[in-house]
Symmetry: C2
DNA sequence: ACAAAAGTGTTGGGCTTACACCCATGT
DNA sequence: ACATGGGTGTAAGCCCAACACTTTTGT
């Protein structure tokens, strides 16, 4: 009748064209859920403890038996944050989803989160949660490529994305090394909505 | 640290071109989750208690605070079963999702389940869980129309569905009243897979 | 001058949508 | 004979995928 409940977060981000996830001591970050609390407020508290001074996108994934602590259940969430906003002491704990550490028992959870993210970026605009406010279309495309694990055609990608008119050109330019400067864009709305993208 | 956990089921089916859901005493069926049990086996036990001698399709929806019993959380599942297979004493408790009883506090859960089902029937073959093994294409189309809440073009629906080659003609015919007999089809595979349908 | 990434159009094929009539049966 | 639902094809428009070169900058 009673049960130990933990909240668990799969924090994902993109670094150097790789999708990465926060893993600490071979576990996903997790916190006991105290009796009498409601889920949303407990979650908020937990997330702002793990990621102080940020506002990640958070969504519930599923609930499962704890693979380690028998008799406990995990309510698993996934969170998205642009890599630059991840607290620096956590950055070294971000691991590529394609090279999860040996002995990490929550692989299935991370794989599921990866699938969910793939779906989400194709059918909604959540991707803005992985980019700084201002970004170039190439940066955007690289985020997609990292998440989907395949290369995209530059012309088709731009055509499609611009036709959705979710982003607008700021008029600013950004220069990376010795190449032509790129136009800087922003998302018109920073709230998740369903839009078929790819 | 400890918590009361309940398993809750949103059982959906289609009756007379209407999407219906099982509501008993103004609540969704629910059962305490005993400590030490794992979720899947507890779920199986619960489902076969609510729906003896059937094998509904079951999938986890999400976990939420119990809107009635404060301090308890609900792990909510949704289940699909062809209407003919619903135990007859439960049939009178199946309510249209568009006419939920007053005082029914779990409307949001049912609405979410409806959304999920809409998505599922468009992008996967789950619909077979709402039909008897043998069915006509018109019956299939009516199931879709009930779930999606809009009429579909008969020619386009058949063309699309047959082109997916998920179903095969049994050669049998079925007669409804005074009309031309319809061909009877079966699903080639009765397991859920992702296929873009509509 | 060259290296690097930015930016830009067209075409063909496939899919989706819209649309109307004849057929087989029961009454 | 008529009412009922079953069954069938085509054409137009839209969307997607494939594809290569020029531009702007830094070194």
């Amino acid at each position: 009748m009673v049960h130990t409940v933990h909240l668990t977060v799969v924090l994902m981000s993109v670094r150097d064209n790789e999708l990465v996830v926060l893993i600490n001591n071979n576990r996903l970050p997790s916190q006991p859920h105290a009796e009498g609390q409601n889920l949303d407020s407990a979650l908020k508290t937990f997330v702002s403890y793990v990621l102080p001074n940020t506002s990640p996108y958070v969504e519930q994934l599923f609930t499962t038996d704890d693979p380690v602590e028998i008799g406990s259940i995990l309510v698993v969430y996934f969170a998205l944050l642009p890599y630059e906003q991840i607290p620096s002491q956590l950055k070294k704990s971000m691991r590529s989803v394609h090279a999860l550490p040996g002995g990490f028992i929550e692989k299935n959870i991370v794989n599921y989160a990866t699938q969910r993210l793939r779906w989400k970026v194709e059918y909604t605009n959540v991707v803005y949660n992985l980019l700084p406010k201002e970004f170039t279309l190439s940066e955007l495309q690289h985020i997609y490529e990292a998440i989907l694990g395949r290369l995209l055609d530059k012309r088709n990608f731009r055509k499609k994305f611009l036709s959705l008119s979710m982003v607008k050109d700021t008029g600013k330019k950004k220069i990376f090394g010795r190449a032509r400067p790129a136009s800087v864009y922003v998302f018109k709305k920073r709230e998740v909505s369903i839009i078929e993208i790819l």
